[in-house]
């Protein structure tokens, strides 16, 4: 089976090697001097201020992305579902950001917030809300928000079309029955639409969460791999390929992988009610 060979050689073998790297001390200059470190790499990383900061930034980005993606995704799904004549063209519009590379969406959003040549400042100045342009990229909190916005922009389409397809599977008779029983629109949403969308929502949000934890491309083209706005991914990249500390990078990847798997298990558990039959 070619499938299993490819998977074994290119995924599982490396994963195991990464685990091995994370337990030893690799010195590229003296490859013969391998030292077994046990959990030392992990303990050092978990005490490292930079790692904790990266974790904080990643968490903030993830939470913001999830909130924005869910709210906008749901809003757009409901909106697309109500558009009758324009539906075809609007669904085409909605998927455009999804097909755009993260690198390019970073570039695109960079110019929205560019201090002197950004649309946001331009508009705010024109409307008299601001007197002087805001330096969006010099404030860490603003950068986190901008990164989250950019990631959400690319993540919304998937959630929107997933929820839109799920909406189409809800039978009209449910709404008719609810209307006869005197259900208002808000109530119909609360008791029919929302619960019926739950499985699709959970799957779409799992993907979104994992994407948000693993974001790198957008950060590179928005602010570059700076250390002041580090996240899990820039931290791993820096440690591994800039400073050639393979062991630290590997250990940190394992920490992130652990986080991702926990998130995934939490979602699938909520989805099925129990741990079995994942996805």
């Amino acid at each position: 089976m070619p499938l299993f060979i490819v998977m074994a050689v290119l995924i599982y073998l490396p994963i195991i090697s990464t685990l091995y790297y994370s337990f030893v001390n690799i010195n590229l200059l003296k490859p013969e001097k391998l030292k077994f470190m046990g959990l030392d790499n992990y303990i050092r990383l978990l005490k490292d201020q930079e790692v904790l900061k990266a974790a904080g930034n990643s968490l903030a980005i993830t939470v913001l992305v999830m909130l924005m993606t869910y709210l906008l995704g749901l809003a757009f799904a409901l909106f697309l579902n109500r558009s009758v004549r324009l539906k075809g063209i609007l669904t085409a519009v909605v998927i455009i950001p999804w097909a755009i590379p993260g690198i390019v969406s970073g570039i695109i959003w960079r110019w929205m917030f560019h201090p002197s040549f950004g649309l946001v400042n331009s508009l705010l100045l024109k409307w008299g809300i601001l007197k002087t342009p805001v330096q969006w990229f010099s404030d860490n909190k603003a950068v986190t928000a901008i990164v989250a916005l950019t990631v959400a922009w690319r993540a919304v389409p998937l959630v929107a079309i997933t929820l839109m397809s799920a909406l189409q599977t809800i039978s009209d008779t449910l709404y008719e029955a609810a209307a006869i029983d005197g259900c208002g629109r808000m109530k119909a949403f609360r008791y029919i639409t929302y619960p019926m969308l739950r499985p699709a929502t959970l799957i779409a949000l799992t993907t979104t969460t994992i994407t948000a934890v693993n974001v790198l491309d957008e950060i590179v083209s928005l602010v570059g791999m700076s250390s002041s706005n580090n996240t899990f991914m820039t931290e791993i990249y820096g440690r591994t390929f800039k400073y050639m500390r393979f062991s630290e990078g590997s250990a940190l990847s394992y920490i992130v992988m652990f986080v991702c798997i926990v998130i995934w298990l939490l979602y699938t558990r909520r989805l099925t009610g129990k741990g079995e039959e994942v996805l």
Partner: protein, 287 residues
């Protein structure tokens, strides 16, 4: 009367949402386009005017090498374009058959470890690239596969496998077994059943898989950043990122390059929207 007013209010809300939707989705792209047609001299005007003062296509001409000698940017751009096309095509041609065979086997054949492999595949979906790329980088540099398209494509395929196999397997599971049984009775072997019965009726899903592979591979950044250091293999996404990190002066060129790189995946997504949406939502909708 009340009803009429309600309907009117609905319409207003709808138009507001429509406006926001278009602004959110297309606004940033339009703005980026507007910068891309602004001549370099005008990009220093602050605050930026809402529409370009002297629109020009000079940035696009420079990138595409139209008129005048071939610029450095244009050479970079075309090298990246070529590499991205080759890599994504190769990933589809080699990867898709592997995925189809694997998905079919997992869906229809009852062998030992079937369930374990399935669970392992699902779990792989959430594993970050970094957990595999470091050892791959080390092994690749030892055996000389760095800066090699074959090596790069293999990693792309392995990264795509879990998702595509999951989509196809799920789809095969939904096809009634009677269809294949009839084919077996008619004397087909299992390979013929796959190619003559299963594939023809699942072409929308197979096509959707190819589309997803194309777009995902085209948009890859981290893997080629590490494994494709030279112009021989570097895809367009990495080249564009270098326009940002190494050439921070010409804003217009940067935007023009970014927008040109977006055309193939977006075009593919728009042309085959129906297949794509079908594929992307198949797993989630069934629940």
């Amino acid at each position: 009367m009340n009803r009429l007013r309600k309907r009117k209010r609905d319409k207003v809300v709808y138009i507001l949402v429509l406006a926001f939707f278009l602004l959110w989705t297309l606004g940033p792209i339009v703005w980026s386009f507007s910068i891309s047609i602004t001549p370099k001299a005008d990009t220093m005007v602050s605050p930026a005017p809402l529409s370009p003062l002297h629109p020009t296509l000079q940035n696009y001409a420079q990138l595409l090498g139209i008129g005048g000698e071939i610029s450095r940017e244009s050479a970079l751009f075309f090298a990246g374009l070529k590499n991205a096309i080759i890599a994504s095509m190769a990933a589809i041609l080699i990867g898709l058959p592997i995925c189809i065979l694997g998905a079919y086997a997992l869906s229809r054949m009852n062998f030992k470890g079937n369930k374990a492999i399935n669970t392992l595949l699902r779990a792989t979906l959430v594993i970050p690239v970094f957990s595999t790329i470091v050892p791959l980088f080390k092994v690749y540099s030892r055996i000389g596969l760095i800066d090699n398209l074959v090596g790069l494509v293999l990693v792309y395929i392995s990264a795509m496998l879990p998702l595509i196999v999951w989509l196809l397997e799920d789809h095969f599971n939904g096809i009634p077994k009677e269809l294949e049984e009839a084919a077996y009775v008619d004397g087909c072997n299992s390979f013929q059943v796959l190619t003559r019965v299963m594939l023809p009726i699942s072409y929308p899903m197979v096509f959707a898989s190819a589309l997803i592979m194309f777009i995902t591979v085209w948009n890859q950044y981290l893997i080629p950043l590490i494994l494709a250091p030279s112009l021989d293999t570097k895809p367009i996404a990495v080249i564009i990122s270098e326009f940002v990190t190494k050439n921070t002066v010409n804003y217009g060129l940067m935007n023009a390059g970014g927008l040109l790189a977006v055309i193939p995946p977006v075009l593919v997504a728009l042309l085959f929207k129906r297949f794509l949406i079908g594929g992307l939502t198949a797993g989630a909708v069934k629940g």
